[in-house]
């Protein structure tokens, strides 16, 4: 199986690592070769958390600049920051609800306009699917399910070798019981939103 390379970027606390875990478990269920790497030392200290997931016949667990086939950003400025990982055929999925870094609060940085972020990404990659995942998560019943909304959108693109049903099974068996229902709802909302934007 030809390798497919996926990068997920998020701010610590947004549930990036759980998303990677669900994807990894789904790959295990579907017998899809998968290798993942993550840097999570600072996950709880408000820094950036990046996961790389490589499907198919490859041995590396990390992804070089310009080599991600799919990029999922849980926060718009972080999606833009990870643009160096993309090539011209990359499909990008991004949340549009900003989490302003503290550097902006103290005036040592300016948050780029959402319109600018989107047009930059759109002009340089194959496709951008961008929407407010936070409001969909709220609609699903848990604002912390932004990760599952974006996972739904990712699966809808068909760009990673995992089916909707397998991933839903992984959510059912690998996320906390109390959250399974909202997680599945969030996943479906993300899936259908990506579908409607396609």
């Amino acid at each position: 199986m030809k390798p497919t390379r996926l990068i997920i970027v998020a701010v610590g606390g947004q549930g990036n690592l759980l998303t990677s875990k669900v994807i990894g478990e789904a790959a295990l269920m579907a017998d899809v070769p998968v290798r993942m790497s993550e840097i999570h030392g600072m996950a709880q200290r408000g820094g950036v958390v990046e996961s790389s997931i490589v499907f198919g016949d490859a041995q590396s667990t990390i992804i070089s600049d310009g080599e991600a086939d799919v990029l999922v950003g849980f926060e718009p400025s972080e999606t833009l920051r990870a643009l160096n990982k993309c090539h011209s055929d990359t499909v990008v999925i991004s949340n549009l609800a900003p989490l302003s870094p503290f550097t902006v609060t103290v005036g040592s940085g300016i948050y780029p306009e959402l319109k600018v972020i989107q047009s930059l990404i759109r002009s340089k990659t194959a496709k951008l699917i961008a929407f407010n995942a936070e409001s969909l998560a709220r609609e699903a019943g848990n604002i912390l399910s932004v990760n599952m909304v974006l996972l739904g959108a990712l699966i809808q693109t068909g760009r990673i070798p995992l089916t909707r049903e397998t991933v839903k099974n992984a959510i059912k068996t690998k996320t906390k019981k109390a959250f399974v229902e909202t997680n599945l709802k969030a996943f479906e909302l993300g899936f259908s939103t990506a579908d409607s934007l396609a």
């Binding site: 990894g24 030392g41 950036v48 490859a58 990390i62 643009l83 870094p101 340089k124």
Partner: protein, 620 residues
């Protein structure tokens, strides 16, 4: 039951490298495991800690890596399989024990895991611990994947017992923190009781004994080299005459690169899994089959220098490329594209990589550095110290933990840091040669780890500084591991003692000891001022539980605060505290009630008293 205690042989599980290593230990029947926590090794230990609650495994968080290794060394010399886990710099702390333990050897298997951190994702240096294997004269094994880490760790115990030597098992962050699908092996029932047979002329390392032991160590190393020659972990792939010698994760990048470049037929890859002793004959024969050879290894030219020496011994003059000629870097970690490009350059392969995107018109994106959490007690302590020291010229040595982040503006408290415990020792030196007031900072766990000897030194040699011990009741940075000052009973763990930091400080002979609760700002400032005025060694213990850990334990927390209309926009709260719960919208300051932990420090420092507790969580 813990997931690593379940699963039949052959079952496939998605495992983090560190989980795979822990499973490998269990498959080897490890009975004693010791550690001092440190990223990227921490999850090996946190899994062992949980597993020890429900199995025969004895696990301990030791005070530091040296103690951890001594505990494991004794168990192993009683015939019990033991494991000692640390991050790379922990090996420096354990080195005193390690180098003579190599002479003494072991009876039961002992595997020492060192987790190196190329690129320094969470470390103060990127030292290459392969040199410890040479320095100590110990065998070293290095896996390339999570699956191999599990299998190799299990085999490392057999190797250790065959050679009667500790085996150093070296990983890098990308092994520890990569996940893959791992096929399980059989669990082995651990033998938990040992039998120490007295043999002082082989165990008590006085010079006359050690002279014999060093000779014995060299004999064992000869045997180890023979094992290395024939080990499946030193393996050759391909029959081409372009040679590539690699180890660890570099091997993966080489394999992917060779495939991508379609040069499988031209290349011959030697993956080194036993990196000390290196297989001399295997490498010589490999070199003889090649026209030119590239050494692909992150870190120092460890293999490169050895391979070049082997080539010289065999009179071989082929080109051996690597770091020596500047093709490859000694800095940071490698990545697949970089390795592929080096292969192209060295072997002269035509290849045009797919172009990345043009980033020239992307505006500067505001940085998102990690920061102290909302409501972190360290922030309150730094604020109080800065207030108390206003007008003083200071030098502030700091130490390793979350509180190191206090060196960032606006707290800007932290002037010097080299290693665990260095805050105290360097304070002695700074205060001796400078007229500035020396105020140093150390965390509770770090104080136990290596802070105490420095403090004893300060009292004995009559130094003059104030040490602030940031006691948040847990080893926070690495994921909330216990330390000797922790009340384990309160967390429902039986069988632990507790060491009071205050008692230790007093017993050491510090005459000026005070304790503050940093959320009480004015009182803390006054107490610190007094400590700063004291001539000699004074200690301030700042006690407040880690806000993240308190949350994890579901401890009740204060009501969140909000910024009322009394705010005149001075922004002292933001400029002096920089708590991430604050945000600004249309030039007005707000507090995010979800992030706010209710510590009330900002409310106490607000000149207009504009920050007030929310009546209820839903809003004003």
């Amino acid at each position: 039951m813990h997931k690593l205690l379940t699963g039949q042989p052959g079952l496939k599980m998605l495992l983090l490298g560190n989980e795979a290593i822990a499973r490998g230990g269990l498959e080897a029947g490890v009975a004693v495991a010791t550690t001092y926590p440190g990223t990227p090794s921490s999850e090996i230990s946190s899994n062992f800690f949980q597993i020890s609650q429900e199995s025969k495994l004895y696990f301990e968080y030791s005070t530091n890596e040296k103690v951890a290794l001594e505990v494991a060394a004794a168990a192993a010399n009683s015939g019990v399989r033991s494991m000692c886990i640390m991050k790379h710099v922990g090996m420096n702390v354990a080195a005193d024990a390690l180098l003579t333990l190599a002479y003494v050897g072991v009876k039961g298997g002992l595997v020492i895991v060192t987790a190196d951190d190329p690129f320094m994702f969470s470390s103060q240096n990127e030292q290459d611990n392969r040199f410890y294997s040479k320095l100590a004269g110990l065998p070293m094994m290095e896996p390339s994947s999570a699956q191999e880490a599990k299998d190799m760790l299990r085999d490392a115990f057999d190797l250790s017992e065959e050679l009667q030597l500790p085996v150093i098992f070296r990983t890098t962050t990308r092994i520890n923190h990569s996940s893959e699908i791992v096929s399980l092996g059989e669990l082995r029932d651990p033998k938990t009781t040992g039998n120490f047979v007295k043999d002082p002329f082989n165990y008590v390392t006085v010079p006359a004994v050690s002279r014999n032991l060093h000779a014995k160590l060299l004999e064992k190393l000869d045997k180890a080299e023979t094992i290395s020659e024939n080990s499946k972990y030193n393996m050759i792939i391909g029959k081409g005459d372009w040679g590539i010698i690699c180890n660890g994760v570099s091997y993966n990048y080489v394999c992917d690169g060779v495939k991508e470049l379609d040069i499988q037929n031209s290349t011959r890859i030697l993956r080194i899994g036993i990196s000390h002793p290196m297989p001399r004959i295997l490498i010589r024969n490999f070199l003889k089959e090649c026209k030119k050879v590239l050494i692909m290894e992150e870190g120092e030219p460890f293999m490169e220098e050895t391979v070049k020496a082997f080539a010289q011994e065999a009179g071989l003059t082929l080109s051996i490329g690597g770091k020596g000629d500047g093709l490859l870097s000694r800095l940071y970690e490698y990545n697949p594209a970089q390795v592929r490009e080096s292969l192209c350059e060295y072997f002269g392969v035509d290849y045009t990589p797919r172009a990345g995107v043009d980033l020239s018109d992307v505006p500067e994106i505001p940085q998102r550095p990690p920061s102290l959490c909302a409501g972190c007690s360290h922030r309150a302590t730094f604020y109080a110290v800065n207030k108390a020291a206003e007008g003083m010229e200071t030098i502030c040595p700091t130490d390793i933990g979350c509180y190191t982040l206090g060196f960032l503006p606006p707290l800007s408290t932290g002037d010097f840091l080299i290693c665990m415990g260095s805050s105290v020792g360097t304070s002695c030196g700074f205060s001796k040669v400078s007229d500035k007031k020396v105020i140093s900072f150390i965390g509770d766990s770090t104080f136990f780890h290596t802070g105490i000897p420095g403090l004893v030194n300060a009292v004995f040699n009559s130094h003059n500084f104030t040490l602030v011990i940031l006691d948040n009741g847990i080893t926070a940075m690495t994921g909330h591991q216990p330390h000797p000052g922790v009340d384990m009973k309160a967390m429902n763990f039986e069988g632990y003692g507790q060491v009071s930091i205050e008692d230790v400080v007093k017993a050491v002979g510090v005459k000026h000891v005070s304790t503050i609760r940093p959320y009480r700002v004015k009182k803390s400032v006054d107490t610190i001022k007094e400590a700063l005025m004291y001539k000699g060694v004074s200690v301030v213990i700042s006690q407040e539980p880690c806000v993240l850990f308190a949350k994890a334990l579901k401890k009740p927390r204060g009501k969140p605060f909000f910024v009322s209309d009394k705010c005149k926009g001075d922004k002292d709260c933001i400029n002096d505290l920089a708590c991430p719960a604050f945000y600004i919208r249309k030039n007005r300051v707000y507090i995010d009630p979800v992030l706010c932990s209710g510590c009330s420090v900002c409310a106490q420092i607000c000149p207009e008293h504009a920050i007030l507790p929310l009546k209820d969580k839903s809003g004003k």
